[in-house]
Symmetry: C2
Subunit: 255 residues, 2 copies
């Protein structure tokens, strides 16, 4: 299995604190040693740092933890391989273009019988069930909406119906973003927290690090963080029920 981390904020926000917690689980406090990746959106563009080395040993992971890239939307993943060997091509997140936007996706779980899902012009490059499911979702979206849609909550509701189908084939926890919205679909486990004023202190569960968000924020900042398991011990993380999803926009849950 793997772990997911997502962030959605109303101002460019530094994710280093949460990433540090996640990366500890990449071979140190957790078994997810088979690569990691993190995608930062900056406007309509994005950049992805990834490595097939475990996040607790990867030099690129060290760099990412020391260089506070500010972003409004982040999707990250640490991998414990089940289907597909340990290599860069199988490392999440995956990003593809649809309707002139970059879509980024990460999956936790395992699917059976996915190879009969039609992916159309979105061909998988690697060998994972995860990438195949992503290509299928994009293909279904392109069929349902041949032109760029405008009602985004309806689009994500449709994605949730696709995710429901995938969940019938195994475990399908997913983060999906177009650079503005972040969708979190829960099959077995996914949690979220929203931070806003008055900001307090938070302490990582996986490392002896505490942060006082008040020192790093403005009063109007709103930041939601989504993770497979809660990353901090003294905040109220909400569990998403199996088969449900949450949609985040400008830092707020809007579902």
């Amino acid at each position: 299995m793997c772990e997911l981390l997502g962030m959605n904020a109303n101002v460019p926000t530094d994710i280093v604190f949460s990433v540090s917690g996640l990366f500890q689980r990449g071979g140190f406090t957790g078994p997810h040693k088979d690569g990691w990746g993190i995608t930062f959106y900056e406007g309509k563009g994005y950049r992805t740092f990834k490595d097939h080395q475990s996040s607790c040993h990867s030099p690129v992971a060290q760099f990412v933890q020391g260089y506070p890239i500010k972003s409004e939307v982040i999707v990250a993943h640490i991998r414990q391989a089940n289907r597909g060997n340990v290599s860069l091509v199988n490392t999440h997140p995956f990003t593809r273009e649809l309707w002139g936007k970059y879509w980024t996706y990460a999956h936790n779980g395992q699917l059976k019988g996915y190879r009969n899902l039609k992916t159309g012009a979105y061909r998988p490059v690697g060998e994972t069930d995860s990438e195949w499911a992503f290509c299928w979702i994009l293909h279904q979206l392109s069929l349902r909406y041949p032109k760029c849609p405008s009602n985004w909550p309806a689009v994500f509701k449709y994605v949730a119906s696709l995710a429901d189908e995938l969940r019938q084939r195994g475990v399908f926890n997913m983060l999906l973003s177009d650079g503005q919205f972040v969708m979190a679909y829960c099959s077995t486990q996914l949690h979220w927290v929203t931070r806003r004023a008055p900001f307090g202190k938070a302490k990582l569960l996986d490392q002896d690090i505490e942060i006082n968000f008040q020192e790093h924020t403005q009063p109007g900042d709103i930041v939601s963080v989504i993770a497979t398991q809660p990353l901090t011990g003294n905040e109220t993380w909400h569990r998403i029920e199996s088969g449900n999803y949450e949609l985040f926009y400008l830092g707020e849950r809007i579902t």
Copy 2:
């Protein structure tokens, strides 16, 4: 204008020496201060490091120069913006999937009248003529070869005919790779050199750095490097004639 750098090798090879020379031109010995990017293929996968900050000041560029990622195929670019503002979405290289392979592209030059080129399912996300031309090339390829082709030299010959059309609209120097082949199309300026045994010393033109390749290579290694302008002063760089292209595979020029 911008500068291009490509590498094609028969063994995973560290490009730090050449990248260091190129990055100096990103705001230090050259005016290309509007971002940079480098894509490393590792098997069928890839990772791209990019920044809209100038390469001679970017912390990510510093990291890339200090961390020798070994790769058989590299495409890099430093940008001096003409069309499209300075932002991550407009920063080369661009990567898209076609036939289940990741294609990476970087362009130097400027095109007029490109907005009437049909891009089909390959929609540009940013505002550059460069990305638009890339989407058009991929769309044309997908029309010409609806299924994955097998005669790759013929595919690149067809790409060259598309590049000939683009050159009618302005300046179109291009690097294009599928992760195995590297194609270098010259509109105005592009040079290449192949390094093989017996390896000698090379000295960067843009920085007081000399390398003895013999200390870093095995006798069977073959590495070709393509750059807008020669990066070293004591090697024989070949100029590609305007309207011509070269194709590299396993480190060798095969055109």
